[in-house]
Symmetry: C2
DNA sequence: TTTATATACATAAGAAAATTATGTATATAA
DNA sequence: TTATATACATAATTTTCTTATGTATATAAA
């Protein structure tokens, strides 16, 4: 898939937020959803996505179950209770980082 | 200094933008400016800053000159012509990334 | 006076988090 | 039968940080 140096660091937050909104998703579905919502601007590579999912699971934020559809295995992820709290925390972080970055880069929408 | 996983990828953009606004700055001054403007939220580590400055110079976006003040050497950086163009390009990238991230994370200010 | 803090640079070792390249496997359209 | 899409995974490598050091001067505090 493709690249964006600014993506670094926000992948976990994106995954957690999508799972908050969608209850359960599988990896490939996440790549397609991100591509769709960002209109092609953010493309997740598999080499980034799958290790990130495994890490979030290892950290206790996600749990999994598999399902076979059309002879292909899908591995679904959903938030654990701990993961639910983590979403809030990561979103707060992301919001304040975006604010600070916009201030530094003078990209703030005019605050009259 | 300190840490922010979301900072990854935006350091070069921050440096270039500060030099567009301030004409010439030295490394330590950049760390203090970022700390001040972000109200302590973004703290640049020296281990990240200096290599980033050296890379921007090697890439032809920055040029340097030194000056001695109070018996201490300051190494000033300023944008080259190529660097001036790079600022615009990096800011566009940053803007569209922030937009997409806000959309994905549902952090968009209400667009009535 | 000597100790801590601030100013000012730099680099090396290590870790984190990507990209790129592979690999396996099935379904479907050309 | 070939390419593309779906669906997972991991290894090698690269990028970009953090953390730890190192050098050196100025100044305020103890």
């Amino acid at each position: 898939m493709s690249t964006n140096p600014l993506l670094k660091g926000s992948l976990q937050t994106i995954i957690l937020k999508l799972l908050e909104d969608n209850d359960q998703m599988y990896g490939y579905e996440i790549t397609q959803k991100v591509k769709e919502v960002s209109e092609g601007g953010i493309m997740l590579t598999e080499g980034a996505l799958y290790p990130a999912l495994h890490k979030l699971e290892a950290d206790g934020f996600l749990e999994t179950f598999t399902q076979v559809v059309d002879n292909r295995v899908r591995k679904y992820y959903r938030l654990t209770e701990q993961g639910g709290k983590e979403v809030t925390s990561k979103l707060d972080e992301a919001q304040s980082f975006i604010d600070q970055l916009q201030t530094l880069l003078n990209l703030k929408p005019a605050t009259k």
